[in-house]
Symmetry: C2
């Protein structure tokens, strides 16, 4: 397990280097190196040895931690072994090919050029889900298990139906009550504000790196080697949100119980819990009126004068748009619901790939009231399906829901955060998250963790309460 943890950290490092440091022409050699690392890791993870060690542990009296290690090791091994080696190779190759095909098709705004690769990815995802499925599970349920073990399509349908009903009227009101506003902040002022804000909340040079990359992401090479990236657009404030977002991912990994280090439990438990941690810092800290005091102060120190109110208005403004990654916090889940509906339909063979662009336009009109001008800004905007990732999108919306539910539970436990956030004091938040979410690592899956941390089943209500003020409610 320690070896697999090391190999996983190495994979993260190699990917980080590729996206942040590697000179461009290093790509072909890097692809070989990543392939070799992935193959060796897969061999170790699925080796007969692991199965035999696990069998030896069956029925033995283990302490709680060891029992959890063995339980998750058994689950991971069983799941990995259910995928035939040939299918694993086909999936990897189709993913690499699909991403290339997607890139070219998006550039040319030519969905037909992407359709064959997408059809292949859908077919392989279905096969993957079918061989992974446990008795009574659908293929899509099984795919969800790769990202969020224990979640099922029924849960998602229920939660997303509630959102799809409640959000559109809120969006309509929010367009008037909290309209989108822009601020022309220079890159230099953003850089200064991001650096000093992150420093305030614990980012130092001895165990963090903050770099720039085309798409912000986080890589954790160990509990004391956290690397977040951001990007700076000229004249926007996205870097303030995205740097807090990535910080949330990194903080989660840093605060996992040290006893789980280099075990199979020493990472975040699921995509949706991970996303809840980034969304908590993005939506509930960076987008709060209280923390706008801090951010406005840091922008001022960086040479850009703005009032906290103006800045806050720019950080929360609502306006439906065709693009997911730049969506506001109210419309964002609707983008995800559309993707969930469509990928589920494709995997279940209820939607032909050729009909995807039309279904996309219909869905955008229905959920967001937005007309999509081109497939490049429509169903070709995200890489996920090109890469063969089906079952991943839902975690983005679940993260918003879980963040809101955790935030309410935390404020109920330790009091409203407003006074602290005005002064940039986040230590009590860090501590509550460490105790109630982070420390468990993979010992608790998504739904049990939400139940334990909040005392409630996962629901949409906290999120709806959180966004209601945007609509003046």
């Amino acid at each position: 397990m320690a070896e697999l943890a090391d190999l996983s950290a190495l994979g993260m490092l190699v990917t980080w280097d590729q996206l942040v440091m590697m000179p461009g022409e290093g790509a072909p050699a890097r692809a070989h190196q990543l392939g070799t690392l992935a193959r060796l890791t897969h061999e170790r993870a699925t080796s007969q040895d692991v199965g035999e060690w696990l069998s030896e542990l069956d029925g033995q009296d283990l302490d709680e931690l060891d029992a959890d290690i063995a339980r998750i090791a058994r689950r991971d091994w069983d799941r990995a072994r259910r995928v035939p080696a040939e299918l694993a190779v086909e999936l990897a190759q189709a993913s690499a090919h699909g991403q290339e095909s997607w890139r070219a098709a998006r550039e040319a705004d030519d969905f037909a050029a992407f359709a064959p690769a997408l059809a292949r990815n859908v077919e392989l995802a279905r096969a993957h889900g079918e061989c992974q499925a446990e008795p009574g599970q659908s293929a899509y349920d099984a795919l969800l298990g790769d990202y969020d073990y224990g979640l099922c399509t029924t849960d998602l349908r229920r939660l997303f139906a509630a959102l799809a009903e409640a959000l559109p009227p809120l969006v309509a009101d929010a367009r008037a009550h909290s309209p989108k506003r822009s601020l022309a902040v220079s890159v230099a002022a953003q850089q200064a504000a991001v650096a000093s804000t992150l420093r305030r909340i614990g980012v130092n040079d001895t165990s963090w790196r903050v770099d720039v990359s085309a798409h912000p992401f986080t890589a954790c090479m160990g509990p004391r080697d956290s690397r977040v990236t951001t990007r700076y657009g000229d004249g926007d404030v996205e870097s303030l949100l995205s740097s807090l977002h990535e910080y949330g991912h990194a903080l989660y990994e840093r605060q996992i119980d040290a006893a789980l280090d280099r075990t199979n439990l020493g990472t975040g438990t699921s995509m949706s819990i991970h996303e809840s941690q980034s969304k908590l810092w993005e939506n509930h800290v960076a987008r709060s009126a209280a923390f706008a005091q801090v951010l406005a102060g840091e922008l001022g120190a960086g040479g850009y004068d703005v009032s906290p109110d103006e800045l806050h208005a720019a950080l929360i403004g609502v306006e439906p748009s065709p693009i997911r990654v730049s969506a506001d916090s109210l419309t964002y889940p609707l983008h995800i619901i559309l993707r969930f509906e469509l990928e589920l339909a494709m995997v279940q063979d209820d939607l032909a790939v050729a009909d995807l662009p039309g279904a996309w336009r219909d869905g955008m009109r229905r959920l967001l009231g937005v007309e999509v001008d081109s497939d490049a800004l429509g169903c070709l905007q995200d890489v996920h399906w090109g890469a063969g990732s089906f079952g991943y999108f839902p975690s983005y919306a679940l993260g918003c829901l879980i963040a809101a539910q955790l935030w309410e539970a935390m404020e109920a436990a330790i009091g409203p955060r407003e006074q602290d956030l005005r002064r940039g004091e986040v230590a009590p938040i860090q501590l509550w998250l460490a105790e109630n979410v982070h420390r468990y690592g993979r010992r608790l899956d998504t739904l049990p963790l939400v139940q334990r941390a909040t005392g409630q089943e996962l629901s949409v209500e906290p999120f709806l309460r959180h966004v209601a003020p945007l609509a003046g409610r």
Copy 2:
């Protein structure tokens, strides 16, 4: 072989990251990750499978390239398999411990604190050499084979005896004829000159990186991903020399025949040939009067005015000193000869570890006429013995000799380089090195490569001719 090449490149990347990018507190996790990578690599390199594949190839009719691949694979596998797994583990642990012990002892200038770790390293090196030795080989010969296959102690004794006789009188004259001079060049001017000089000779952003690290080094993650580092001292010109030095290492790896990529032959053949490539650019390009025109121009563009003659004088000045890494090109080999004599004596059990400091002082007096004030500036100055590296030092001096011999052969073939170097034109040098040295990768070992490239046996004469002008001869 491709897999091992990938793993080796990954090891290099992980080490580069540790020395250049990693936040300091990432070190403990990184040590685990490197350990896992080394263990997996060792397992693959010594696996029974490889031996069986090689046996299947025995007696088969292979083309020249395949025959070389099989020949070197057999040699590497045999050598690696001769080291018992327990000894390999002991060597790795003693190396890690020895480096820590050395660091603390050097800081405290306390040789006695380091002596036990050194004694252990010597003992293990001897055991390592003995189990690696082929019939008739001494333990030290076998250790040399890890760095420079085919070289033997007898060769080194002969070459170094000639240098130890010829150099001291040259040093005496050079102190008067080419005395050490310093230039107070700002860090900013050095940075500008290093960047523009490297750009002139082919370093671009698409397949190179140039970074800063505590000790300059080169890491090549693939033929189109070359990473050199340098360091900038306030008020010296070492960065001009060391950046050209590291460039030489990187150029070697870049110009290996592409057909050898991802085979066991696709890297530099030995430490001494590698060092000859760095020394060629350092001693014969950067330290030439002709190239001083270019370097002075680049310093001027960076805001530091200096005449080519003044700069050249500062780059070649001779002055015996106790420190190897800052030694001039004339005294440098004498530092190496001392280390060779002492490490050979320790491995052969002719010198007790406790007697090392005295022997060091005696040797420095004899070879360089230098009085050593402290062990920290004496036998504790280099990490190599702390890391358990015995047989490595000689390559530093051999690199100087081979560089001079290659340079003479090249000028004989394509004419004097002076006119070209004045203009910064190095393409013919790059081409000659590619054709006569680089392209072979590991297909030729050190001595056959020198013979093939220069038509001569390795000798000290070209180096002595190269340094004679420093003494006014």
